[in-house]
Symmetry: C2
Subunit: 338 residues, 2 copies
C-alpha cells in the first residue's frame, strides 16, 4: 500500500481510530491521485475507499490508485462503514460542520491532522514540481519586462498569466496581484485598470502538475520607498538564513519580525512571515508567532515579510524555501530586479 | 439596518438564537460588502460586527457597511460575545469543524441556513449583475468564432478568458471547460493542448461586479451526436418551460430527467439538472431529485441537462434562468449555435 496511507494508518492506530474521513479535494488527490470535481468522501482504513459523485466516476476510475465506489447516500455509506467494523472516525479539521453532523451520531468522532502532518513533508518528486512551477513563474516574470511595460495593472496581470500558460503552467496558483502606488498597502490588492504608479508590487505564482509556486517582488523608486525595501529585504534574508531542521516556525517568524520591529515598523508588518505550499497555495505549517511546529527536511514554506503604510505604499518580498540541511531558496530570481 | 440583516435577525429570533456566525467569504461579502482575503468572523446580532484579520483591516474599513474590529484571538472574541449577552450561536452549515470546535463549549450551537435562505432570493440589482456577466460571457463566446477557430482546447479556453476580460469581466466564474471528442463525456473535463475533435463542449462563465454567469453549448457533427443533442435540447427546453413560482426544485429536475429517461439514457444523465448561482457559482437550491425547495420569484438557477456516453462523447446544454412569473432565460445566445 501507498506509503502516505501506511503512515496515516499508523498514526490512526496510536489514537485508536478505525477510519479517517477526507473530503478536501487536494486531500483526496494527495491520497489517490484523483482530484474530485464535484464531491467525494475518501475513507482511509485497512482497505481504503472513495465514495465519488456519479458525475466523477469515469474520472475517478481513470485516476484513483484506491478503490472507488459511486456515492449513493449517507445512509448507504454509513451502513457500509459499520458493516466493515468502523466504530471510530477521525475527520479532517476543515470538514464542513454539515458533513460532520451526518456522521456524529453513528461514530465516535475526533478531528485529526494526520493528513496535514503527512502533506507537510514533501517528497523529492513534489519538491521538483514546486521548483518547476517556480521556474515557469519566474521566467514569465522576466519576460514580462515590468520595468518597460506600459500596460495597466489589470493588463500586466493578464500578460503574466498568458506567459505562465505559454511556458507550461496549467493555471495561476492564486489571483495574480499587480498593484501600485497607495494600493500596494493592501496585502491582497486587486489589479485595477490603471497605469502603474510607484512603487509596483507583484505577487504571483502558477501551478505545474498540480503543485503551486509563490513569489513577490516590489519595485521601488523613491528614497523613502528604498528605505522600507531595505528593511524588508533584511528581514527576508535573515529569516531565510535562520531556517534549518530543529528550529521552530515561530522562531523564524521572530527573526523577521524582530528586524522590522527594530526599525519601528512592528505594527505595520500585518501578517505572518510565511505559509507552506504544495497542492494548495496555503498549507501548514506557517512562519507565524503562534506556530510551534519544528522544521523538518522536506518542508516547503514561503518567507514573505512586508511593511504596509496605509495611505502611502507597501513593500513585500517573497521567496519559497525548501528545508534541507538549511533553507534552500527555490528559483533564482534576484530580489532586486530593478 | 440592512434588510438582509433584519430578515436574518427575524429568523434567528424564531429559533431563539442570539447570534449567527458567518466565515464564508461570500457570506461575509453579502452581509457587509467586504470580501475577506484572509479570514474573518462575521457575527450577526443586534449590533453586528466583523472580526477581521489584521492584514485586511484597511480593506474592511473601506468596504464594510457594518462595524469591523481587528481579530486578536478566539479567547478575546468569545469573551466579547459573552459580555454582549450571547449564549446561543447559530453557525453556517459549511463552517469548518475546527472553527466550530473553538465555540462549542462556550455557546449553545445550531447549524442554520438563514444566510442561504436570504441569498437564494436575488434582488433586482443582483439579477442585473448576473445578466451583465452573462451578456459579457455570451458576447465573448460569439467573438471566439468557435466554428472557425483553429486553436487547441487550451488556447481556446484562454482566448475566451481574454475576451471576457476585455469585455469587462473581472475574472472567470470557474475554470473554463473546452473539451472535445471522447473527453466530452467527462462533465468537468480539463482543456488539453490538442486541436478540437468532435463534438465540442464549452462550459464557461465570468464574474461582473462579484456576480457569476454560467452557460454551456455543445457543437455536434454526426447524426448520432445530433440525436443525443436533440434529446438534451428537449430536456433543457421543457425544464425551463416548467419553471414557475410554486413548483418544487425536484419537479423541475424530474421534467428533464423523465425526457432523458424516455429515450433510454436515464443512467447517462449523471448529475442534477441545475444549481443556483450568484456571488458563488454553486449556491442553493438546485434542480435535483432530492431538493424540495419551492421556487420563488428572484431565484436564479441553471438548467443544464446532459448525456454522457463513456468512451464516445457527451452533450450538455446550459442556460441560467431567473424565476419571475415564469422562468426567464438570462441572455440570448441560441442553443444551436452551428
Amino acid at each position: 500500500m501507498d506509503l502516505h496511507v501506511n503512515n496515516i494508518l499508523n498514526d490512526m492506530q496510536k489514537d485508536d481510530f478505525n477510519a479517517y474521513l477526507l473530503t478536501g479535494f487536494t486531500n483526496v488527490e494527495y491520497i489517490s491521485g484523483y482530484r474530485p470535481t464535484s464531491f467525494a468522501f475518501c475513507i482511509i482504513k485497512e482497505n481504503p475507499v472513495i465514495y465519488a459523485s456519479g458525475m466523477d466516476m469515469e474520472l475517478a476510475k481513470n485516476n484513483s490508485s484506491i478503490e472507488v465506489k459511486e456515492y449513493e447516500s449517507y445512509d448507504v455509506m454509513i451502513r457500509e462503514l459499520k458493516e466493515d467494523g468502523i466504530e471510530s472516525l477521525a475527520i479532517e479539521p476543515a470538514l464542513p460542520y454539515s458533513t460532520y453532523a451526518r456522521f456524529k451520531d453513528d461514530f465516535e468522532i475526533g478531528s485529526k491532522t494526520y493528513i496535514d502532518k503527512q502533506r507537510m513533508i514533501k517528497t523529492p518528486r513534489e519538491i521538483e514540481r514546486i521548483a518547476r512551477a517556480t521556474e515557469i513563474a519566474q521566467k514569465s516574470f522576466i519576460q514580462l519586462d515590468i520595468l518597460n511595460n506600459d500596460g495597466t495593472e489589470k493588463e500586466i496581470a493578464f500578460d503574466l498569466l498568458r506567459l505562465m500558460l505559454e511556458n507550461g503552467a496549467s493555471k495561476e496558483s492564486f489571483d495574480t496581484i499587480v498593484t501600485s502606488g497607495a494600493n500596494s498597502s493592501l496585502p491582497h490588492a486587486i489589479p485595477e485598470a490603471k497605469k502603474l504608479a510607484e512603487p509596483v508590487l507583484i505577487d504571483w505564482g502558477c501551478i505545474f502538475e498540480g503543485y503551486c509556486s509563490d513569489n513577490t517582488r516590489t519595485m521601488v523608486y523613491t528614497e523613502r520607498q528604498q528605505e522600507i525595501w531595505d528593511i524588508v529585504a533584511e528581514a527576508h534574508d535573515e529569516a531565510i538564513k535562520a531556517i534549518r531542521p530543529g528550529m521552530k516556525c515561530c522562531e523564524i517568524d521572530k527573526v523577521a519580525r524582530d528586524i522590522i520591529s527594530d526599525y519601528g515598523y512592528e505594527d505595520r508588518f500585518i501578517h505572518s512571515t510565511g505559509h507552506s505550499l504544495g497542492l494548495d497555495i496555503h498549507e501548514t505549517p506557517g512562519f507565524s508567532a503562534r506556530d510551534e511546529t519544528v522544521l523538518e527536511k522536506g518542508m516547503v514554506i514561503t518567507v514573505e515579510p512586508g511593511i504596509y503604510l496605509e495611505g502611502e505604499f507597501g513593500v513585500r518580498l517573497e521567496d519559497t524555501v525548501a528545508v534541507s540541511k538549511r533553507g534552500n531558496v527555490i528559483g533564482d530570481l534576484p530580489l532586486d530586479i530593478a
